[in-house]
């Protein structure tokens, strides 16, 4: 149920854009560093691994994790 809800939520959001395509010349703001999902990679890596040492849940943003004895 939760899975379906999340999927519908994002697909629904995606559907919002179908009526109005954002043109290349309208993407100046989207090109700013703060509008990307990567953010500050080193900051993100530090923080995510700290959380993996304090909580059970981790991951979700990409592939290629692992690399430590943080079970």
């Amino acid at each position: 149920m939760m899975y379906a809800l999340l999927l519908l939520l994002t697909l629904g959001l995606s559907g919002c854009s179908m009526g109005e395509t954002v043109q290349p010349w309208d993407k100046a703001i989207l090109a700013r560093p703060e509008m990307t999902f990567e953010g500050d990679p080193l900051d993100t890596k530090y923080v995510e691994h700290i959380y993996s040492s304090k909580e059970a849940a981790s991951g979700g943003a990409g592939v290629g994790g692992g690399g430590c004895g943080c079970n």
Binding site: M2, Y3, L6, L7, L9, T10, L13, S14, C16, S17, E20, T21, V22, P24, D26, K27, A28, I29, L30, R32, E34, M35, T36, F37, E38, G39, D40, P41, L42, D43, K45, Y46, V47, H49, I50, Y51, S52, S53, K54, E55, A56, A57, S58, G59, G60, A61, G62, V63, G64, G65, G66, G67, C68, G69, C70, N71
Partner: protein, 372 residues
């Protein structure tokens, strides 16, 4: 309370700082065009966690990274991390077994880790291949990952497919633990530009792990040799015209074969200021249910016989909630240099085990980077 040195804490330290600071090759689910410039970064982390009345682990980590485009359609990214840990082991058993494992020793450990990835940019997408290595005294991990990103004709939608394989070797001779762990993971992502000021993303991840999922130092810890994890991550970035700031919001749902279910909400606001200053406050809340084999601390007197099945008193597997608040300041300098400072405070706000003392930590990050 005065700390009591134990042999356990030496191994404990190695695992804890590795847990906190491993920096594997990690590819985020978002495609991008060939970068025009490279960059080089350095970041220092100082970390200290504690339980009520007692300081615990302290970590110092140093990471350098570089990204360089080349030959018009390629880029290479690499990072190297050195970290060290010192301090005291955590109180897993706050009450009854406190004397057994709560005391702590002076810990001094080191770790070296590195990763490198290569990206080939196409007209509508990219391929990225990465490898990583992490080595410490009793734990070696090697990882390999491959990611494909595809853009639609209008370049407003990005589909991402990723896969990784990680193989770990545990060689804790002091505890007579020699084992392996292998994890295969996959991810599908969709990133959608909604308006000229909104972009959203959904990532669905799945991993299948087989092998040793415990830690040699842990008292009364026997876990299933398989752990499957599913994650749903949604993110939304929105630019505010009035303030010229950007809000970054995310929600992650996590579930695994341990029966842990976790909800994580985070928000960050990036506010540009005068003279190239930027202020970034952030907030995060997370809650999780307990693993089905987690045992409340108060019920634990001694390790159960092996035949009893999965069993753990690891506080990370308890039901808990936690709040993190932080502030980051960035300043752009001349000649493409940028410096930043970030402070964070983490507090566990509740847990499902009355005998478990809540953790908190504070961290300081200091970074410098330059566009090449």
């Amino acid at each position: 309370m005065k700390s009591v040195p134990t042999k356990k804490t030496h191994v404990l330290g190695a695992a804890l700082f590795a847990a906190a600071l491993a920096l594997p090759s990690y590819q985020t689910a978002f495609a991008e065009a060939t970068p025009e410039h490279g960059n080089v970064s350095f970041k220092y982390l100082n970390y200290r966690d504690s339980q009520p009345g007692q300081d615990r682990i302290g970590v110092n980590a140093y990471t350098t990274s570089i990204m360089m485009p080349f030959a018009g359609k390629w880029s290479v990214t690499s990072s190297y991390t050195y970290d060290s840990v010192s301090g005291a082991s955590p109180v897993y058993h706050s009450t009854i077994t406190q004397d057994m494992v709560s005391g702590a020793s002076v810990i001094s450990e080191k770790r070296n880790a590195g990763d490198i990835s290569l990206t080939r940019y196409l007209e509508k997408g990219s391929w990225t291949f990465g490898v990583s290595y992490s080595g410490e005294s009793d734990y070696i991990s090697r990882g390999y990952s491959l990611q494909r990103s595809l853009l639609t004709d209008d370049k407003n939608t990005t589909l991402t497919f990723g896969g990784s394989y990680t193989t770990d070797t545990i060689d804790a001779w002091k505890k007579s633990v020699f084992d392996t762990k292998e994890v295969v993971a996959g991810l599908f992502g969709i990133t959608q530009i909604l308006t000229k000021e909104d972009i959203v993303q959904l990532n669905i991840g799945y991993s299948n792990g087989v092998g040793y999922f415990s830690d040699p130092y842990k008292y009364a810890d026997s876990r299933p040799r398989r752990r499957n994890i599913t994650t749903f991550l949604t993110r939304w970035n929105h630019h505010f015209d009035g303030s010229d700031g950007t809000g970054k919001f995310s929600y992650r749902f996590y579930t695994d074969s341990y029966d842990v279910k976790a909800h994580t909400l985070s928000a960050e606001y990036v506010q540009p200021l005068h003279n190239e200053w930027t202020l970034i406050p952030s907030l995060r809340y997370s809650s999780q249910s307990a693993a089905y084999f987690y045992k409340p601390v108060n019920s634990v007197q001694e390790p159960p016989p092996i035949s009893i099945g999965p069993y753990s008193v690891d506080q990370r597997l308890a039901a808990l909630g936690a709040l993190t608040y932080g502030i980051k300041v960035e300043k752009k300098l001349a000649h493409e240099w940028t410096v930043d400072l970030k402070l964070e405070q983490y507090e566990q706000t509740f847990n499902g085990d009355a005998g478990l003392a809540p953790f908190s930590y504070r961290s300081i990050q200091l970074g410098v980077s330059r566009v090449l």
